[in-house]
Symmetry: D2
Amino acid sequence: SWLHSSAALQQSSPPPQVKFFPAAEGVMLPTGSFKDRVAFITGGGTGLGRAMTTTLSQLGAQCVIASRKLEVLQKTAEEISNQTGNKVHVVQCDVRDPQAVSRCVDQMETLTGLPDVVINNAAGNFVCPSERLSLNGWKSITDIVLNGTAFITLEIGKRLIQNQKGASFLAITTIYAESGSGFVVPSASAKAGVEALYKSLAAEWGRYGHRFNIIQPGPIKTKGAFSRLDPTGVFEKSMLGRIPVGRLGTPGEIANLAAYMSSDYATWMSGAVIRFDGGEYVSMAGEFNELIKVTPDQWKIMEAMIRSTKGS
Amino acid sequence: SWLHSSAALQQSSPPPQVKFFPAAEGVMLPTGSFKDRVAFITGGGTGLGRAMTTTLSQLGAQCVIASRKLEVLQKTAEEISNQTGNKVHVVQCDVRDPQAVSRCVDQMETLTGLPDVVINNAAGNFVCPSERLSLNGWKSITDIVLNGTAFITLEIGKRLIQNQKGASFLAITTIYAESGSGFVVPSASAKAGVEALYKSLAAEWGRYGHRFNIIQPGPIKTKGAFSRLDPTGVFEKSMLGRIPVGRLGTPGEIANLAAYMSSDYATWMSGAVIRFDGGEYVSMAGEFNELIKVTPDQWKIMEAMIRSTKGS
Amino acid sequence: SWLHSSAALQQSSPPPQVKFFPAAEGVMLPTGSFKDRVAFITGGGTGLGRAMTTTLSQLGAQCVIASRKLEVLQKTAEEISNQTGNKVHVVQCDVRDPQAVSRCVDQMETLTGLPDVVINNAAGNFVCPSERLSLNGWKSITDIVLNGTAFITLEIGKRLIQNQKGASFLAITTIYAESGSGFVVPSASAKAGVEALYKSLAAEWGRYGHRFNIIQPGPIKTKGAFSRLDPTGVFEKSMLGRIPVGRLGTPGEIANLAAYMSSDYATWMSGAVIRFDGGEYVSMAGEFNELIKVTPDQWKIMEAMIRSTKGS
Amino acid sequence: SWLHSSAALQQSSPPPQVKFFPAAEGVMLPTGSFKDRVAFITGGGTGLGRAMTTTLSQLGAQCVIASRKLEVLQKTAEEISNQTGNKVHVVQCDVRDPQAVSRCVDQMETLTGLPDVVINNAAGNFVCPSERLSLNGWKSITDIVLNGTAFITLEIGKRLIQNQKGASFLAITTIYAESGSGFVVPSASAKAGVEALYKSLAAEWGRYGHRFNIIQPGPIKTKGAFSRLDPTGVFEKSMLGRIPVGRLGTPGEIANLAAYMSSDYATWMSGAVIRFDGGEYVSMAGEFNELIKVTPDQWKIMEAMIRSTKGS
Ligand SMILES: NC(=O)c1ccc[n+]([C@@H]2O[C@H](COP(=O)([O-])OP(=O)(O)OC[C@H]3O[C@@H](n4cnc5c(N)ncnc54)[C@H](OP(=O)(O)O)[C@@H]3O)[C@@H](O)[C@H]2O)c1
Ligand SMILES: NC(=O)c1ccc[n+]([C@@H]2O[C@H](COP(=O)([O-])OP(=O)(O)OC[C@H]3O[C@@H](n4cnc5c(N)ncnc54)[C@H](OP(=O)(O)O)[C@@H]3O)[C@@H](O)[C@H]2O)c1
Ligand SMILES: NC(=O)c1ccc[n+]([C@@H]2O[C@H](COP(=O)([O-])OP(=O)(O)OC[C@H]3O[C@@H](n4cnc5c(N)ncnc54)[C@H](OP(=O)(O)O)[C@@H]3O)[C@@H](O)[C@H]2O)c1
Ligand SMILES: NC(=O)c1ccc[n+]([C@@H]2O[C@H](COP(=O)([O-])OP(=O)(O)OC[C@H]3O[C@@H](n4cnc5c(N)ncnc54)[C@H](OP(=O)(O)O)[C@@H]3O)[C@@H](O)[C@H]2O)c1
């Protein structure tokens, strides 16, 4: 069965094109690009948030990471600081709670002042058929993803405006935010909401010196995402088969993109939505892409059949 | 000033093209198209919801309308029933409250059985600069629009699935759901969430006999929308100037579209998003559309200037 | 092999949800909706164009159909006229040739006067890996689809403007116009161009009384489309598996939608793009939709695995 | 009048937020990022193409630039080589002519071998009401933009496939490719076609080691674009007022983005479409964004009016 066919698939070697698409993990931007800058990253203790924090820290930023698990944050902060020599601060914060968000920004103001760079990366997600989804399940995801992002963004934004300070905001959404997707419906809905929020504010708050952009990642292996989206590991194999680049993304790659978008090199970028997925989305969405299975010999047969068609 | 210039504008007559675009208010579908069907419409007591209910009732449906204000619902129900001869039921329900939603669907099951047609039309909205928006303001809108739609849809959907009954679901969003818009940010975010919800379920629940579609209306004069979006009336004039068709939409027009999408004529439509806005969206979004102000004589000058350009 | 597995699949019965989605083939709009109207349909001799012509003719329109094969046109015209009692005119025209287009519109002016309804439906397409595509192959498709549509639209539009006459324009594109698709690349590119053309003119020519809309059909069985896109019949089976509604569309269904969009009931619709595909597009595009294969029992296992996940 | 109001506007100083968004003109990527790489840029002699060539050359690439005007190319090539120390080759080529394209690629193979980086940047455009557009005008733009891009891409792609060589392809389109826009209709249509072409090939040719991405620039002052799009200079002022970032883009900024997308740091990016426009698109498209004109005092009045609204 589909669920148990993973063993066989596990063996499969990566598709040949992977050799053309090596992942460059080194930091891309010039040293010191974020010197004297403060970066605030939600969910910065793990996965992609951790990778983005690491890169910004290496580039000179003072980082503040926030999420629920203080110990995880502290461990990550220490490890990154040790590696980069730049301070990483931690603030415990459940983004679903407006008061916690307010206290978190208070704390940041004390620690570092208001940020120059904000990355809304915290999220929750799990796969579930919608008819099995409880209203609590719905709220557990949308509260983190949509309300949490809004609370953080509005709280920091208002204070920046009052202080006449500019900033770059980045939100991490997903390739299914636009198309929607079954089986991750609360996440799809909330991430779509985040995209509208950021596009709206890009238009409205430019006059205050704020930019708002979005990355839509395709699959990048992190424990958080994969343990709740692909607990059996079957789905990963199937994704690989339809990613034109032939591999998953890496945290370092998204960190370089996020650093670029948050940097002075991108001050003219606002309201942008960048899909970063190895081509997976266009490959899934295009109606005839499954013809990739047709072999050259079969094409010859099919071409002959097409040529012999008469009339409409 | 912009806010006080409305008096002068009020006088302005409609643009000449309006004569080509008369609104057809009569019911479009064949008589009896919804005979023996049950239609459930949230916010069916006022505005667009009332218009859609009227049309479905005229076409033979038994309608159930639900919102907070029982008296408004009752008055509307009676008026429509009197007009069409078909029963319109009312259920008081605040869609933000999962338990109220569950009770509402219980009541409907008793009154009419589960519905064949569901229209998620209830919403809240008001204009506000985002830096003046309170977290309560944010939640008051997103709770109705996104959570309310999800609660209604999941509750009814699950029961339909259990009863192996098919249905058509329709959500009313807005033309700024995709692009986002400043000054209505909670609405933009929540409506974008609704669109993702409906596209997701279109894919996931087709197998249970359910279709999910979306209408994105442009401006249609209703008391509910205009009193909170354009309290001074200035904005309306400005909108008219950029709507290619030269007029606002009418409730009857959207009711015909909604009836079509909910009918057996559209059983092959699912996951569709229909913009219905007199062309306003494409007119705003296209970068060079403001050249519509250039007169024929000025074009001659500009063409001469362009022709005389040498090189790149 | 994939190509030869069709025999086995051929047997497969339609998915169970099809019973919820019967195709309504009768004419939807009120009798006489197009009385005293002239409708011009390219490619009206076959397939979808023929179906749209039939419906418009039944609704009272005088139709003019145009394409290359005069005999095919004549046969169709006669059959439709006999059925509906309304005259169907034919004009031979290769839409790739600007002079032929100009002569065609001359002829129409003589026969019926300028049209109230224009449907750009003529197209060419065939499947081919892009590395096997000749430049002639590229041009053979883009010349018909993009240039042909532009020539027809500009020629008729200019004359309507000169005569101060309004009209409804409709273009038939495809669900892969936005996403792109491998193996039908010239068609994807040209259809995307047509969509931009129509959205652009919706904004620009509203002031002249013109509306411009688009239908993106999913798979509807016609000889023209299927013989060149799915010569072996294998692809059809695979499409069925991912169409939420569980069946292909029918020509009558698209004819009803096209008639609505071209009618007075839709005078407020302009710049709209209506996907009509049984949900195929959202089903393909959503990243997690293949989890539809997971059985209820497997979900229980997966849910347990997800619940037992600790940490991010 | 609108056309003659430019003098007054000319005086206007940049909006205050510009101080938050300085353009970083230095090269972003690490030195040597394109060492031993060959980059082919159409229209590389002027404007944005010249800027992208300069940046790639500074980063170590051997560049080949191609367009119609040999002298312009030669002058540019010499200037860039002198500045960067890396060879810039020139090939005369009219991209509309398939045979010229084939000869051009022959020449490149001799000069440098097949490219690692391809940038399709050549284009033509001019503003014109569509009813004044001749069919020659239509073809002059679509032949360069759509056919030219296709010819270059297919010709190079096929040879790369035969040689089992990977490459990054980038196309420069525009923010109105998706929305369409009046008054630049051939450009809108052709650029939309280019986007579909690149998204299609991203899906189809990933297996051969090719990536395909797109930049949609907003307004960046170049002689080529502005002399034919805004001959009077009036439009520029009006654009500035709606760009959230408050300024036009610079060639250096787009060159850094293009270099990133073409580099090894972006090997996981394919099928992406990056809008780079200072936020102009979302600002135009969002229905309520013109409320930016409302002053804080007016908001107080409006809020009071909204609060006093009773009922729906
Ligand atoms: N990995 C992928 O393939 C992929 C693909 C598309 C999108 N994404 C997006 O990328 C982002 C990062 O995901 P990831 O893969 O790195 O997964 P992850 O490691 O699980 O990251 C999620 C982070 O969010 C934090 N978080 C969760 N709930 C929170 C709350 N209520 N308040 C504050 N913080 C909270 C978590 O920390 P605590 O538990 O300490 O609170 C955790 O650090 C997410 O937005 C995700 O949607 C990932
Ligand atoms: N009119 C336009 O120009 C326009 C444009 C774009 C989109 N739309 C959309 O069209 C739909 C209808 O709007 P409209 O113009 O007809 O405005 P409306 O008359 O104000 O309709 C809103 C309806 O929602 C109901 N509602 C609000 N909160 C509710 C709650 N918590 N629980 C249950 N029902 C609730 C209201 O009834 P109660 O007060 O009795 O609860 C009311 O009947 C909305 O989705 C709106 O976003 C309208
Ligand atoms: N069927 C589907 O599943 C499907 C799906 C998506 C989109 N579509 C679109 O629907 C439309 C109709 O397709 P169909 O399935 O009905 O296929 P069809 O029967 O092959 O229709 C194509 C029509 O275009 C005409 N045509 C082709 N080249 C022409 C030229 N140079 N000048 C004038 N007319 C020309 C043909 O007539 P002559 O040979 O006499 O010229 C024919 O009547 C097309 O735009 C197609 O792209 C169809
Ligand atoms: N600047 C902007 O604001 C802006 C905004 C959006 C998009 N863009 C896009 O950016 C790209 C560059 O534009 P630009 O502003 O740099 O304008 P530009 O300087 O006019 O560049 C156009 C280039 O295309 C070349 N070209 C034109 N026709 C050609 C043909 N038939 N064959 C080969 N080459 C041809 C020209 O060289 P020859 O004359 O020597 O052939 C010229 O070098 C274009 O794709 C444009 O659409 C620009």
